[in-house]
Point group: D2
Chain length 301, copies 4
């Protein structure tokens, strides 16, 4: 795993079914943008909102549409090992190239229990690489650096997606990877706004939700010299303001951010309907329209 691997949203129809036509267009939009991989059914993909049947539709559509051009990673996020295990089996059957799991959640969990969790999942995954997804704001636990390095040494996980927003901890992980000689272990940042810094200190790539909207921008940022990267990053920071357009007094933070990504893709003609999964409150027409100038300013039409 390296480069730009956006966590794709899941386009839905107005009646909350998976919109496979829009999903196929989103895949083509990403491939045209030059991404190095795609990650489906993650937090941006509303994986925890979908039924098992809907998840299966997403996996089959994406694997078919990508057709081997880049790796497809599948989120297998759920509350416990047994429930994640069921998602692992389904994803393997669909033919994905990698699996992405968080620590267990809802129940309070200890690092020793997280270790048991990933170890069993890796056994289920077999040859397919397993990636750890560190997102404490959703899961309630930060993956300790020592645990990540230990799981890497044991060959349990092939990499980590860090969405903790804790840059010093991420940098420390990069340093400890080097000291441990874990050259094959992938470290990706989930940040939209600190990517140039993270690439400068040694991460391998980025999994940005905003990459749904502007994959080519993150691809340019990834390949750029440091001065160019700085410019590109500042442009993307401004574009990221789209997540603040919706009225937070009437919807949750997840709905506002994902709704903005979907509404932008809708305005760009990539997907047919900007709705987010039930029970999320959708953006209204005025909010959707308010995104347009931010897209224009970022050069997206």
């Amino acid at each position: 795993m390296t480069g730009v691997v956006p966590p794709l949203v899941t386009p839905l129809t107005p009646s909350y079914d998976v919109d496979t036509g829009s999903l196929a267009r989103l895949i083509q939009y990403q491939l045209t943008g030059g991404v190095n991989g795609v990650f489906v059914l993650g937090t941006s993909g509303e994986g925890t909102f979908l039924t098992d049947e809907q998840r299966q539709v997403v996996l089959e559509t994406v694997v078919g549409e990508v057709s081997g051009q880049v790796p497809v990673l599948a989120g297998v996020i759920d509350t416990s090992t047994a429930r994640v295990g069921a998602h692992v089996s389904a994803a393997l059957k669909a033919g994905v190239d990698g699996l992405v799991a968080t620590a267990p959640f809802y129940a309070a969990t200890h690092p020793a229990e997280i270790e048991r969790h990933f170890t069993r999942l890796a056994a289920l995954a077999g040859e397919t690489p397993l990636y750890a997804y560190d997102i404490p704001v959703r899961v309630g636990t930060k993956l300790p650096t020592a645990l990540v390095i230990s799981l890497a040494k044991a060959g349990v996980i092939a990499g980590v997606k860090d969405s903790s927003g804790q840059e010093p901890s991420l940098r420390r992980l990069v340093m400890e990877r080097r000291e441990a000689g874990l050259n094959e272990f992938a470290i990706m940042t989930g940040s939209e706004v600190a990517v140039d810094s993270a690439l400068a200190f040694g991460v391998d790539g980025v999994v940005p939700g905003l990459g749904n909207v502007d994959p080519a921008g993150y691809v340019r940022l990834f390949g750029a010299s440091s001065a160019e990267a700085w410019d590109e990053q500042e442009r993307l920071i401004r574009l990221f303001d789209i997540v603040d357009v919706a009225d937070r007094s009437r919807m949750g933070a997840s709905s506002a951010a994902l709704g903005a990504f979907k509404a932008a893709l809708y305005l760009l003609g990539v997907i047919d309907c900007p709705i987010t999964a039930y029970p999320s409150v959708p953006l209204d027409e005025e909010e959707i329209a308010a995104l347009r100038p931010l897209l224009d300013e970022a050069g997206l039409h």
Copy 2:
């Protein structure tokens, strides 16, 4: 819903299957203790750890064993409306008497979204009463009092189980229920240790995890005069020290508490194996033995 309704643990075999024999004995232990209902597949029931198949085994075993003597409530806790909906259907098919759902979790959620969530679930539940389960430490959101009252007035929810540990807010809810004339709306506390106070200010009953171990104690507390209730409550506070016996430096808080309930039931001869669901770290023999004097002191043999 009124009186004592313990949230039952789910006994497991050493190979992590549901132990239906032990579960049947636990039901008899509860009925002998005089409980007014049982709540399965809640937080204490490790509902989020079990597969759909295991959940079905639990529901069928409990409904069959209880056989109409007291109401059976089923937890339908999951990340989103669609996923909870699948659990609702399964629980209705198994013939439960009530459903208990939390707000959505993992994704950050707004009260307006929680309202949509419960409204759709109530439509699925039909005639079967739906109860809201307020457990911010697990879900990340406190159910606002105004939302609970509004859902009660609309007939969406039949009651609430409050495990927030915020007594002033619980009392306020009791006052607002009275002012709104919602006499049929049930308010239960999930506390083990502030039950006498909560009953004194007007809650209808208690859903105590510790009731797994000492159902008769909570039944006595519920029926007691205030001086007797105070004595009984202090005895149960001391018994609750069993959750602090396991070593928190090697397991999570959930594992330590549920492990203690199961180990106590094991020592009392009710269940065959004290194991908690994978990936929870189990109590070791020394920790299990250390529970014995606390049970003895509480008069449980």
Copy 3:
């Protein structure tokens, strides 16, 4: 320390000087209400907002006006032992009957350091009793029960004011006091709204901010049978709604609550000006007027 000991507000003039005339009337209002003591320069007294000179004016005014009729406790709240020590000396010189200190704050502090803090303060206090003030929402640290009991046994502190809002922990402290035979050790709750429960499980009294406004109400609650106490507590819970009248989008929570206490005393004719200490934003005229019906409903004129 026992009974009702309100933490008095500090009346100020429009130019932010201590208003000694209003303070004297507040004392008389409290004594007429039947309080068992007064606590000045606490959180409600805006002690951390006042200069050393202003603190001295408050102490001298109160000691003079109370004139030995009830004990006067003085808050000596500051960031570190040395700075609290200076307040201790000043308070002793003014002739107070007891001293109330929090743990150190601003710097992160360990229980072993809190123990050193109180031990040195007790040495400075000499014969004057020292009380620990447990207010984690302001200080950032909860006083561990084991530390409180250990300081009590060592004779370092004469009691505790618990404003943690954690009722189970407070009850545990009451139980451990009894087991340790610390009959002289005073345990007071800082809650306005859970006083009947706390008295029922064994605390000695209450230090309610709302007691500024309705001292007689808390005195009745303290002396009442349990059914009467319940009624009185519910009336006071409703009166406590005054702290939610001010617009939290334009002022802090402290300003809203203290501003409401002061505005109520202003409307009742006890103090001349409802202003809170700089830089707090004051309640506006409309907000002050909105308190009147809540006072009327509570029977205060």
Copy 4:
């Protein structure tokens, strides 16, 4: 304010007096290291632990010893405007070149109140520049970017020291400064470990606690090309491990970090005694000795 401005520790004697001889040597160590300014009586300077008399000794010693070679900034950190105001007067009298204040703390505070606070302090400071110190972990409030920009535009504050650890917010502030044309407004990071990144995206300098121990290292980092800066930063990240040497089960996080800075300066022969202010628990001899290899590895002897 630009470049490297370490927040100096306050050396103490074994009897907790300010050790002016050690303080003078620390100043010379800093000037020899090439720092662009010094900041005294901040968090690292244990300003909230010292009496007014001790603060005065520090200010006079430092102003005298620095003797105009670089600017001297003084922390004026206290709970409220009035109390900070007294520190401002004292610092101005001692002849400092700048003042550094946090938002009020202990009481919960609203941005409108923080604005009043800084506005009044600026009036007291007159011609001497006032800097805002953003340290939410100590104060409990993050300074909103919009407030900082607004205070900058109004000429109330001359700059900000950001110790929030929130890099995206800091970068946003840099971008908004540029858009507002506030070219004179200084933005400094308080981070020890993300300095190269912060300099790359546009901050003006750094106020690192670790700069007490290795001022020359931060001076080199500040002046370096980006590849050299990366190397220097990684060396300093490793050196920062000294804050994890002390046993956190027996002392607070502040004591462990400041104790390590002081112990390192003691081992380097700069100060005579590594003690931290009362009631902080000091490092023991074994912990102090354990710092030596980390200093050696960093090339400090």
